[in-house]
């Protein structure tokens, strides 16, 4: 299983980025191989519009099955849902911490967007 976590850094100790569409990048953790992959999201950082849905396409292309992020807006959520990707909202400080909480089953799947579009 591949888990994409929004982050502003490049390793497990990096802080989580609470934004989804305009996150700096995604750290994709493969639970089978324990491998890490960094996926850039900078093209969406300054997009005039549609950052959320393009970010959702990016994580889908990276093969993620799960997204852990701070907040996710309605349009991005629609794409993630259509791609069969489960969304978990999490306020952990670091990527490592978020993965830990996920592994312990302490995160709940989001059934809806938790913020309006353009919330940040």
């Amino acid at each position: 299983m591949k888990i994409a976590i929004t982050t502003s850094g490049d390793n497990l100790a990096s802080p989580m980025d609470s934004r989804f569409g305009r996150a700096v990048r995604f750290l994709v953790y493969d639970t089978d191989t324990k491998g890490l992959l960094l996926v850039d999201n900078s093209q969406n950082l300054n997009a005039a519009q549609g950052a959320g849905i393009q970010a959702a396409q990016t994580v889908a292309e990276a093969g993620a099955n799960v997204v852990i992020t701070g907040h996710c807006g309605p349009k991005a959520f629609r794409v993630l849902k259509a791609a069969g990707i489960a969304v978990y909202n999490c306020e952990a400080a670091t990527v490592q911490e978020a993965l830990g909480l996920f592994g312990e089953g302490k995160l709940l799947t989001a059934s809806n967007a938790d913020v309006e579009g353009h919330w940040s």
Binding site: N44, A47, A48, G50, Q57, K75
Partner: protein, 293 residues
């Protein structure tokens, strides 16, 4: 002749200047059309007492994907300038609220899987108002994020044998740029405050970048704000009129009345603005290619 009344800052007196200029020109016996491009909150009709006789829907093109024909190649998604298309395997999703209806996706799709539908973004109402003034405005649908295509279609209703007085939306972004795109004269209304000056600077820069003839009307003038005078001098901007600050102007406006009927003292100022419009109109007629220097 297309005269756009704009400002940048809201509340400077765009509609007041537009309505009263239209009134003045109509009283001079000119054929006048009032075009309200402030499609997000049009209100010129109240002042012109417009009676609408025609109402049409305005549409933008909306792409529709035939998922059977679609090969999920992602070309449409990659080329879309508005980030409105997402390609998932076997499911290409279009987000109408982001789509500008440009049609590029239809052109780039190698599988010819995208066809055109249309989506209503607002309505255009037209009719006749006070003193034989032709009137047209657009009303953007609630929740619709894209005013620009509607503004374009409102302007298409312009009558070429009329002096078109075009009330611009506030702001200096896409809506403003679209409104002034084919203007022969842009009259920027400002007020002697730091806020008025700040937005005047931006709108002047935008209008200048678009190669427009610019004139300035100072509304609520009290002659005390030096930075505005300095800016106008530095930029060599021609002041067409200074409308004196007067509480009664706001009272007249709040009742939806015509300033020049209630306060005839202001007629001389609008006479100056009208004279400038006539001058530009003559220049336009005499210029060989119909473009002002």
């Amino acid at each position: 002749m297309k005269v756009v009344i704009a400002s940048g800052k809201g509340g400077t007196g765009k509609t007041t200047v537009a309505v009263n200029l239209a009134w003045f020109l109509a009283n001079c016996g000119r054929k006048v059309q009032y075009i309200d491009c402030d499609v997000e909150e049009p209100n010129g009709n109240f002042f012109i007492s417009a009676h609408f006789s025609k109402r049409i829907s305005a549409f933008v093109m909306l792409p529709v994907v035939d998922q059977q024909k679609c090969t999920s190649c992602g070309e449409c998604s990659a080329k879309c300038r508005f980030n409105a298309i997402v390609r998932l395997p076997g499911n290409t999703m279009i987000f109408p609220e982001l789509c500008h209806g440009c049609g590029l996706c239809l052109l780039v799709c190698p599988a010819k899987a995208i066809s055109e539908d249309e989506r209503e973004i607002g309505i255009i109402e037209s009719g006749m108002g006070w003193g034989g003034i032709s009137f047209v405005h657009g009303v953007l649908n609630i929740g619709e994020p894209m005013p620009k295509p509607l503004i374009r279609k409102v302007k298409e209703q312009g009558l070429s044998d009329h002096i078109q007085i075009i009330d611009a939306p506030p702001g200096t972004s896409c809506s403003f740029v679209e409104t002034i795109s084919d203007a022969d004269l842009v009259i920027l209304v400002t007020e002697p405050t730091p806020f008025g000056l700040h937005d005047l600077k931006i709108s002047e820069e935008v209008a200048r970048a678009r190669g427009k003839s610019i004139r300035v009307v100072i509304n609520k003038d009290n002659g005390t704000f030096r930075p505005l005078e300095k800016f106008l001098e530095d930029r060599r901007l021609k002041i067409t009129a200074r409308l004196p600050e007067n509480r009664k102007v706001a009272e007249v406006y709040s009742k939806g009345d015509i300033l020049l009927e209630e306060l005839p003292d202001y007629r001389e100022h609008f006479s100056s603005i009208a004279a400038e419009v006539f001058r530009q109109s003559e220049n336009l007629e005499h210029s060989p290619n119909g473009v002002l220097p």
